[in-house]
C-alpha cells in the first residue's frame, strides 16, 4: 500500500471509517491538496469533443457543440470520423506540470493517478477494441514508454496496437493550422474491420491527432471511433 502522495511525497493520513473495514476501497495515491488541484471537468460540455462550454463565449457555441467541432464536421473529409471525445480533467497549470512529469520526464507511475477515473469512464462506453495513440519508434525509445499505453495498462485493460506512427516533429511545437493540414502520420498495423474502437490519448488539444488516427481507422473499416483523453486542453 502506498502511504505517500505520488506528487508531493507527503504522508497520506488514511481516512478510517466503518466502510474502510467493511468494503473494498480504492488506494489513496494523492494527498487531499494535490487531488484538489486536479480540476474535473463539470457542467455543460461540447457534445462532440467534451470541452467545458462555460468558459466559451456564446458565439462559439451552436446547439451545445463548439465552433471547432462544427468546423471539423462541415468539412466533408472529416464529417462523422469521430463519434465523440470524452475527457476528465481541465488542462490547468497543475495538470500541465503533472503531465510534463509523467510524459516528458518519464515518471511512469503517475499513470496510476488516473487509473480509477479511466476505469469508471470507459465502463460507460461500448467498444470492441481499446487502442492507444502510438508514438514513433524514435520517440518510444527516447521515452522508454508510450504514455497512452501506460494509461490503458494502469486502468487494467489490454491495449490493442492497431496503429503505428511515422516519425515527425513534436506536435506541441506546431500551430493549429500546421497540425490540421499535416499529412497523416498514422498507419494501420492490425485488422480493425467492423470494430467499435475506443482511442486513448493523454490530452485533446486541437483534436487533430485524434481525428487523424480516427480517420485512418475508419478507412481501414472500423465501424466507429470514440476517443478518451485524460485532459481537455
Amino acid at each position: 500500500m502506498v502511504e505517500y502522495c505520488l506528487l508531493c511525497n507527503i504522508y497520506i493520513v488514511p481516512r478510517i471509517s466503518w466502510s474502510f473495514f467493511f468494503f473494498q476501497h480504492e488506494e489513496e495515491l494523492l494527498c487531499d491538496d494535490c487531488r484538489k488541484k486536479l480540476t474535473k471537468i463539470s457542467g455543460k460540455t461540447c457534445e462532440k469533443c467534451g470541452r467545458p462550454l462555460v468558459k466559451l463565449a456564446t458565439e462559439y457555441i451552436q446547439n451545445n457543440i463548439c465552433l471547432d467541432c462544427i468546423r471539423w464536421e462541415q468539412d466533408e473529409q472529416w464529417s462523422g470520423i469521430l463519434e465523440k471525445n470524452i475527457s476528465i480533467y481541465e488542462y490547468n497549470d497543475f495538470f500541465k506540470d503533472v503531465l510534463s512529469q509523467f510524459k516528458f520526464r518519464g515518471d511512469y507511475i503517475l499513470a496510476e493517478i488516473f487509473a480509477q477515473e479511466i476505469r469508471k469512464t470507459t465502463k460507460l462506453i461500448k467498444y470492441d477494441l481499446i487502442v492507444p495513440i502510438p508514438l514513433s519508434q524514435e520517440r518510444l525509445l527516447e521515452r522508454g514508454f508510450n504514455q497512452a499505453e501506460a494509461l490503458i495498462l494502469a486502468a487494467g485493460s489490454q491495449p490493442y496496437h492497431a496503429l503505428t506512427r511515422v516519425h515527425s516533429e513534436k506536435q506541441s511545437k506546431k500551430s493549429r493550422k500546421e497540425r490540421i493540414h499535416i499529412e497523416n502520420v498514422f498507419q494501420v498495423a492490425e485488422p480493425v474491420h467492423g470494430k467499435a474502437i475506443l482511442l486513448i490519448d493523454d490530452i485533446y488539444t486541437t483534436g487533430s491527432t485524434i481525428r487523424h488516427a480516427a480517420k485512418t481507422l475508419k478507412m481501414a473499416g472500423a465501424k466507429s471511433v470514440v476517443s478518451f483523453t485524460v485532459a481537455r486542453g
Binding site: 505517500y4 511525497n9 520526464r105 518519464g106 515518471d107 522508454g144 514508454f145
Partner: protein, 453 residues
C-alpha cells in the same frame, strides 16, 4: 583524447542523453560507465542523487531494454535515471588551466570581523580542512570568501559555491565575475546555459551538484541551515560527491542548528564567528510584547489592541514595517484587519503569483506595511524598516527563523538601527533562545571591539 569531451565530462556524472552526441566518442578509454541504479542489501539506491528512500523508486516496462526497469523518482526532474541508463564519468586527466597571477581584482576593505574570518577561510583552504563561518545577518559573508577563493585559484584549484536558491546564484555570479575578471565562472541552475564549459569557479544551486562527482578542491555551502538542505539527506550527499576526496569545505550560516552549535562549543567543529555587522552597530535585540490570545482575536476579526497601536505608530511616523505571521490562512484572515488601518497594506506568501511585484512595491516604498509568512525571513534587504512577529511562540518560528527575521532590521549603514518586536501569548523556548543568541553575539562583538559605543 578529445579535449572538448574532456572539458565537458571532467568532474561530472551525466546521463548519456545529456552529452552532445558529436562529443560522445565510444572508443575513448577515459569514459567510465556506472550503473544508474544499484541494489544493496535488497534496497535500491540511485547513483546520481544517493536516494535510498524506497518510496521514491518505481518500475516501468521499458521499451529500451525490454525489461522491467526501476527508476529514481527523487531526481527525475533532471532526466530519468533507471537500471538501464548508465551514468557516464571521466577518469582521464583534468583540463589544464594555466594559473592566474592575480585572480582577485578588488579594492574594497574588510571589517575587522570579516578580516578575522577571511584569514580562517584561507587557512582552511590551504590545509584542506572544514570550517563553519558563523556570521550574523548583514556581516558581509560574500567578501569573506574572496581571499580564500583567490588563494585556491592561484594554485590551480577548482572551487564551487553552492546555495539553495536560484536567485542567489543569479545575484552572486555577476559579483564574482566583477572581482575575478580573468577567471572562467559558471552559473549553474535548472535551465542555465553555462553547463557546457569547464569553469574554475562554479556557482551552483545545491540541486545541480547531483551532476558533479569528484570535481572540487573547495566547496563552499551557503545557508547550511536553510530548507531544503538540512532536511534533504540527498543534498548533503551531493555536496560530498561533488567534492574531491581531499578538499576544503566551507559552511556559511547566521543560524547553525543546535547540533552544530553544540559541536562548536565542545570543540568538535572548527568554526569562526563574525558577531558584528560590517557597519559596526550592534544587532537590534528583539523585545517581547504580550498581546493576549492573538489567534482568537484574529479569528473573531479583531486585531489585538497592542498590535494595532504598535502598527498605528509606524503608519503615523511613515516607517516601513514587515509583519510576520505564522501561516497563510491566518495571514489572509488578518490582512483585511490591517488594511482597515491603511488601504495600501499588502500581504505576500510563497505561492503568491504576484510575490515579485509586491516585494518590488515594498522596495519602492509604495507599501507602508507588508504582511508576510516566513518566506521573507532571509535574503531580502529593505533599508529602513521595523519588524514585528505576530504569534512569535508559534511552532513555525524556530530559533533560526526568529534570528533571521530579527536580522532584517538595521542592515544598511545609513539606517543601522530599528525595532524588532515579538508579539506573543506566552514565551516559547525558541523565542528565548533567539533573543539570547543575538545578545550573545553583541556581547562577543563588544568584547572583540567589533562594534562602536
Amino acid at each position: 583524447m578529445s579535449s572538448e569531451l574532456q572539458a565537458f565530462l571532467s568532474g561530472r556524472k551525466l546521463l548519456e542523453s545529456e552529452i552532445p552526441s558529436n562529443l560522445l566518442d565510444a572508443t575513448s578509454q577515459h569514459i567510465t560507465y556506472q550503473d544508474g541504479i544499484t541494489k544493496e542489501n535488497n534496497l535500491w539506491k540511485c547513483s546520481r542523487c544517493g536516494n535510498t528512500n524506497q518510496n521514491l523508486f518505481a518500475t516501468l516496462p521499458c521499451t529500451r531494454c525490454k525489461q522491467n526497469c526501476t527508476y529514481c523518482r527523487n531526481c527525475i526532474m533532471m532526466g530519468r535515471v533507471s537500471t538501464c541508463t548508465p551514468l557516464l564519468g571521466w577518469n582521464g586527466p583534468d583540463p589544464e588551466v594555466p594559473p592566474t597571477e592575480h585572480p582577485l581584482q578588488w579594492e574594497g576593505r574588510l571589517s575587522d570581523g570579516q578580516q578575522h574570518a577571511s584569514a580562517a577561510v584561507v587557512k582552511a583552504i590551504q590545509t584542506k580542512s572544514d570550517i563553519l563561518v558563523w556570521a550574523v545577518c548583514g556581516a558581509g559573508k560574500t567578501e569573506v570568501l574572496f581571499a580564500g577563493i583567490n588563494e585556491a585559484l592561484q594554485t590551480g584549484q577548482r572551487v564551487c559555491i553552492a546555495t539553495p536558491r536560484t536567485d542567489v546564484v543569479l545575484e552572486l555570479a555577476p559579483r564574482f565575475r566583477k572581482v575575478f575578471p580573468h577567471t572562467t565562472i559558471s552559473a549553474i541552475y535548472g535551465g542555465s546555459q553555462d553547463r557546457h564549459q569547464y569553469a574554475q569557479l562554479v556557482i551552483s544551486t545545491t540541486h545541480q551538484l547531483f551532476r558533479f562527482e569528484n570535481a572540487f578542491d573547495v566547496v563552499i555551502v551557503d545557508e547550511v541551515d536553510a530548507f531544503p538542505y538540512t532536511f534533504d539527506k540527498t543534498l548533503q550527499w551531493a555536496v560530498e560527491k561533488a567534492a574531491r576526496q581531499i578538499s576544503a569545505k566551507i559552511h556559511l550560516t547566521a543560524t547553525p542548528n543546535s547540533k552544530w552549535q553544540n559541536e562548536c562549543m565542545i570543540g568538535k567543529r572548527n568554526y569562526v564567528t563574525i558577531p558584528a555587522r560590517f557597519h559596526r552597530h550592534p544587532l537590534p535585540v528583539p523585545e517581547f510584547n504580550w498581546c493576549g490570545n492573538w489567534r482568537k482575536h484574529i479569528e473573531k476579526d479583531k486585531l489585538p489592541r497592542v498590535i494595532e497601536n504598535w502598527v498605528s505608530v509606524r503608519l503615523k511616523a511613515e516607517k516601513q514595517t514587515l509583519v510576520f505571521l505564522p501561516n497563510i490562512k491566518l495571514m489572509e484572515k488578518a490582512a483585511p484587519l490591517f488594511q482597515k488601518l491603511h488601504p495600501k497594506i499588502e500581504s505576500v506568501h510563497a505561492e503568491d503569483p504576484k510575490r515579485k511585484e509586491k516585494v518590488e512595491r515594498m522596495r519602492a516604498k509604495e507599501t507602508p506595511i507588508l504582511l508576510t509568512t516566513t518566506i521573507l525571513e532571509r535574503g531580502v534587504t529593505f533599508p529602513n524598516i521595523d519588524v514585528a512577529v505576530v504569534g512569535a511562540e508559534d511552532r513555525i518560528f524556530t530559533e533560526a527563523a526568529l534570528v533571521q527575521i530579527s536580522g532584517r532590521v538595521g542592515r544598511s549603514a545609513e539606517y543601522p538601527t530599528g525595532i524588532i518586536a515579538f508579539f506573543h501569548f506566552g514565551h516559547s523556548k525558541e523565542m528565548i533562545k533567539a533573543q539570547n543568541h543575538i545578545i550573545h553575539m553583541n556581547r562577543e562583538a563588544k568584547k572583540r571591539g567589533l562594534i562602536d559605543g
